[in-house]
């Protein structure tokens, strides 16, 4: 579904990614783990067109999308729940969700049943239903995270990019976020999950990539990475 080869990207003259290759097969949950500053967020930003890759190829469903503007990539079915949530603070929760389906309302993507999808989001995230008329800027951090994920899902995406959905959340909410990710996986949504909670991410994912200084250092089936001594020492702590 999503194939990345030798992706090089960065900010201005600073190169952050030095040739990343990874693959997200249809219906699978792939996770990208690594320490702060390894380049996880930069990878997602390059995939969704928020920054322009310097070289390499990104193929979505076989078509190269590297270098296209973000709105074009979204129209081809890549949804990105970005770092920092980035909800629209002056708009109500419902409007944020409807904007997730902007391309469907405007005929750039198949329309489907947008109101049924809105209901489904409210079932998946009951807190959002309670808060649907509230301005997104007044939600708590956890609620904003749910909104960012639900907004991305409203695209009916081919691939969903999730950037640190657990960041800054209380432990109980972190559990809830991972439970939601597991539920999305059951629904066969193709996902690339970036996480700092490596243990939890490898618990839920099918396959994992470990990033170090802008390169992929280790990759393999999630179960295998969980037992890899190098991964355990560096990222999983002593809890296991």
């Amino acid at each position: 579904m999503l194939t990345i080869e030798n992706l090089v990207a960065g900010y201005g003259k600073v190169q952050v990614l030095h040739g990343i290759s990874l693959e997200v097969p249809q219906g699978r949950l792939v996770t990208l783990i690594g320490s702060n500053g390894a380049g996880k967020t930069t990878t997602l930003r390059a995939l969704s067109g928020m920054i322009e890759p310097q070289s390499g190829s990104i193929r979505l469903d076989g078509k190269d999308i590297a270098g296209l503007p973000a709105y074009e990539i979204t129209r081809r079915g890549m949804a990105h729940s970005p770092e920092g949530r980035r909800v629209f603070p002056t708009l109500p929760v419902t409007d944020n969700l409807l904007l997730g389906a902007f391309t469907r309302f405007t005929g750039m993507r198949p329309r489907g049943d947008t109101s049924a999808d809105l209901d489904r989001m409210f079932e998946l995230f009951p807190r959002l239903r309670e808060r649907r008329t509230q301005l997104a800027g007044t939600l708590s951090g956890g609620e904003q995270q749910m909104l960012a994920m639900a907004r991305a899902l409203m695209l009916n995406p081919e691939v969903l990019l999730l950037d640190e959905p657990s960041m800054g959340l209380a432990p109980k909410l972190v559990e809830e976020v991972f439970a939601t990710v597991a539920r999305l996986k059951e629904r066969k949504i193709t996902m690339l999950l970036v996480e700092q909670f490596a243990a939890a991410a490898l618990e839920v994912a099918d396959y994992g990539y470990v990033m170090e200084n802008g390169r992929i250092s280790i990759h393999g089936p999630a179960a295998q990475l969980r037992n890899d001594p190098a991964v355990r020492d560096a990222y999983l702590g002593v809890a296991h």
């Binding site: 928020m50 503007p69 973000a70 002056t90 708009l91 904007l99 902007f102 391309t103």
Partner: protein, 299 residues
């Protein structure tokens, strides 16, 4: 008392014109953090295109009222186009290269070019604009007010409500608000934010052109009519706050009324002073404007 009420009413009329132009400043500032400093010239061009159109239609033996109504869509369409041209020539490159000051000079330059163009097409003299409504003033209680003045207030309110309803109700309007909130995140929704910015410039000039044909029947029309109006509306936008649609209306009313009162009770020579003093006070004590709010911070 009669005089005071009369002065306030005329001040409100002028204030609504300032408000509509300032509303235009606010539209582009919201989406792109840039402004069209040729907004006054957009008003002037709208009024002159309106003048030529209405004279042509009256020449087809239409009544001035029917001609005015038929002229409106022409002027609004012209305003949209003119604003898009300004964005394309003067602003787009500056935004792309993240130039801090490029758009300022470019929009001022385009304003000067438009003024020269207008002088060459319509001449340097002030021209009379046919009034669509009877010019005899109505007497309401203690005040006398021209029908066109009522039309100005109603027209200005109608325009602002129309834009507000568009922003709240339609998915395209929501896309504009989303772009104003967070341009990158709007891009992730599949919104072409560059097009949204072009559109906001088009809408901004349309508002100015509309203000031009609203005010034209009670003033005179000419190549120089826009400069002062554009500048005062800019003061209004700063006083009211560039982030508040409600603020620019209140700012417009404050400036319009204070001008009239000062002009009558002190001296017409000082009529611009209170508004400009207020501008300085706002800049000193509340730089985001009387009604401007700092953006809601993310938790």
């Amino acid at each position: 008392m009669n005089i005071l009420a009369q002065l306030i009413i005329s001040g409100v009329v002028v204030g609504m014109i300032y408000g509509v132009i300032a509303f235009g400043y606010q539209l582009t500032f919201a989406t792109s953090k840039t402004l069209n400093f040729g907004q006054g010239e957009a008003l002037m061009l709208g009024a002159l295109v309106g003048l030529t159109t209405i004279n042509f239609l009256i020449g087809q033996s239409l009544s001035s009222f029917a001609a005015y109504l038929l002229m409106l869509p022409v002027v609004l369409a012209f305003g949209l186009l003119q604003g898009a041209v300004v964005e394309f020539l003067g602003v787009r490159q500056a935004i792309r290269t993240k130039s801090e000051a490029g758009w300022i000079m470019a929009t001022i330059a385009l304003g000067i070019i438009f003024k020269n163009l207008a002088e060459n097409i319509w001449g340097r003299d002030a021209l009379r604009f046919p009034s669509p409504l009877p010019e005899a003033a109505l007497t309401i209680g203690p005040m006398r007010i021209q029908p066109m003045e009522i039309a100005i207030v109603l027209g200005a309110i109608a325009l602002m409500i129309a834009v507000e309803v568009f922003n709240r109700r339609s998915i395209y309007g929501k896309a504009v608000v989303a772009t104003a909130n967070d341009r990158d995140a709007a891009g992730l929704m599949g919104i072409n934010t560059r097009l949204v910015i072009t559109f906001s410039y088009a809408l901004s000039s349309m508002a100015a052109a509309f203000a031009g044909v609203l005010v034209a029947p009670i003033t005179l029309t000419g190549a120089t009519m826009g400069a002062v109006l554009g500048l005062k509306a800019f003061a209004v936008a700063i006083i009211g706050g560039l982030s508040s649609g409600f603020g620019v209306v209140v700012g417009g009313l404050i400036l319009g009324v204070s001008e009239n009162l000062t002009g009558y009770y002190i001296s017409t020579g000082y009529k611009d002073v209170p508004g400009l003093v207020l501008l300085l006070l706002v800049l000193t004590f509340k730089p985001s404007g009387l009604f401007g709010s700092a953006a809601i911070k993310k938790v």
